[in-house]
């Protein structure tokens, strides 16, 4: 469903992605991990062209993202994205956050959008907060609303860019619960995260990136966690550090 072929990206002369290739099939959950500065967030943002690439090809559901002629807003409306800092629209209520893009982008009626949005809000367990503003919610609640906002658009794939890194530890669980249930329902997902528990539970594959924007590992979850000897030394080193605690 998603295919990246030899993707490279530079900021000026600084290379942030180095010849990255991978693919995500329908229903797969792919976890991307790696140290900071390895280009994980950049990689995931290239899939809906929030970050343009200079070399390579990216195909999403048959649409060439790298092609300048592609209608990017239309493509993005089908790709749900959840950000590290939630990025709800602060001047709109929760319900408005859920409906505005459905109405303005998908052309749904206000009623239809509201129905769909509230259904998703109910799914993430926040119906009671539908009339509040984002600033009145906790971080975990905001992130769940952000997930509901993305789901309201009926996306074909969900991208998560470190969805729990900005949260208080207490709130990480509620967000991961929503993500796990999504994965179990068969949603196609790509998640940049350091939550190895989440990866162990639901990932189909794990991608490990290292500084310089290279994909070092791209293997099944069982291989990644269960067969350390087959891993590169940099990966072992990283896993050793984050799994220790």
């Amino acid at each position: 469903m998603i295919e990246l072929k030899n993707v490279s990206k530079w900021y000026g002369s600084f290379q942030v992605l180095d010849d990255c290739s991978t693919h995500i099939e329908k229903g797969e959950v792919v976890v991307v991990c790696g140290p900071s500065g390895s280009g994980k967030s950049t990689l995931i943002k290239t899939i809906n062209a929030l970050e343009p690439i200079q070399k390579g090809e990216i195909w999403v559901n048959g649409t060439p993202v790298h092609d300048p002629k592609t209608n990017l807003p239309k493509l993005r409306s089908k790709v749900g994205m959840v950000f590290q800092h939630f990025e709800l629209f602060p001047h709109l209520t929760v319900t408005q956050n859920l409906t505005i893009a459905q109405v303005k982008v998908l052309g749904r009626s206000q009623d239809e959008a509201r129905k769909r949005g509230l259904k998703m809000l109910d799914r993430v367990g926040l119906m009671a907060h539908k009339d509040k503003f984002p600033g009145q919610l906790s971080g975990g609640q905001q992130q769940r609303v952000a997930i509901a906002r993305a789901l309201s658009m009926d996306p074909i794939v969900m991208l998560f860019d470190e969805p729990t890194s900005a949260l208080d530890p207490e709130m990480v669980g509620e967000v991961l619960d929503v993500m796990v249930s999504l994965a179990n329902e068969g949603m196609t997902m790509m998640c940049v995260t350091h939550e190895m528990g989440f990866a162990r539970k639901v990932a189909s594959r794990v991608i490990f990136m290292d500084v310089g924007g290279k994909i070092l590992e791209d293997c099944t979850k069982d291989d990644f966690f269960g067969n350390p000897d087959a891993r590169q030394s940099r990966t072992k080193d990283f896993l050793g550090k984050i799994l220790q605690h």
């Binding site: 929030l50 807003p73 990025e87 600033g135």
Partner: protein, 251 residues
Amino acid sequence: MAWDWQMFCEDTLDRTVREGCFGTGGDITYLDWMLSAWGWTVSVSLLALLLALVTGVVIGTLRTLPDSKWIVRFGNGWVEIFRNIPLLVQIFLWYHVVPAVFPAMKSMSGFTLVVLALGFFTSARIAEQVRSGIQALPRGQRYAGMAVGFTTWQTYRYVLLPNAFRIIIPPLTSETMNIFKNSSVAFAVSVTELTMFAMQAQEETGRGIEVYMAVTGLYIVSAFTINRIMTFIEKRVRVPGLVAPGAAGGH
């Protein structure tokens, strides 16, 4: 020297005191004149404000467009031109130079030219505020707008501008008050606004203190009214739970 407020009730032609302080049958008193001058001040200011807001928001927005080098340069050039030339010089440029270059503008009244001059001068300052307001928003807001499928225009319309506007209300308030005060330079091209009135009435009556006190009072009333209106707007659009835009995002 005793104050003589009665001079405002004098007819401007024969200097006789009129009953009720307002002129009749086409004759006007100094009070009539001053109120009409106040009307010109308010008209110049409000029209210039309208022009400045529209142009300022457009130029300020253009300056933040991603991947549009030439549009950004145009916006930057606009701001630099209009804010690096003294306002009084700009008024004279519009009055003496621009019509010479564009003959079609020769028929424009001093009033129109002053509105253009003051409007564009202020637009540069508003554009600067709009730009900084948009750039003060977390970068993720633009991403979030794009990610839900908004076009660039929709991202500005529904996400960036409403939030930037809330940030820049305080500097925008000063700018709106400044327009009222700056409108006084219109006297230089013979628009009969308050300052013009003050200078002429002072000369005719020799009552400089009274005249300038009254005119000063009217400027203060005008600027303060604007200040109150803006404060009202600021309260109306305040978002519950939001200290500063972006704070909710943990930036």
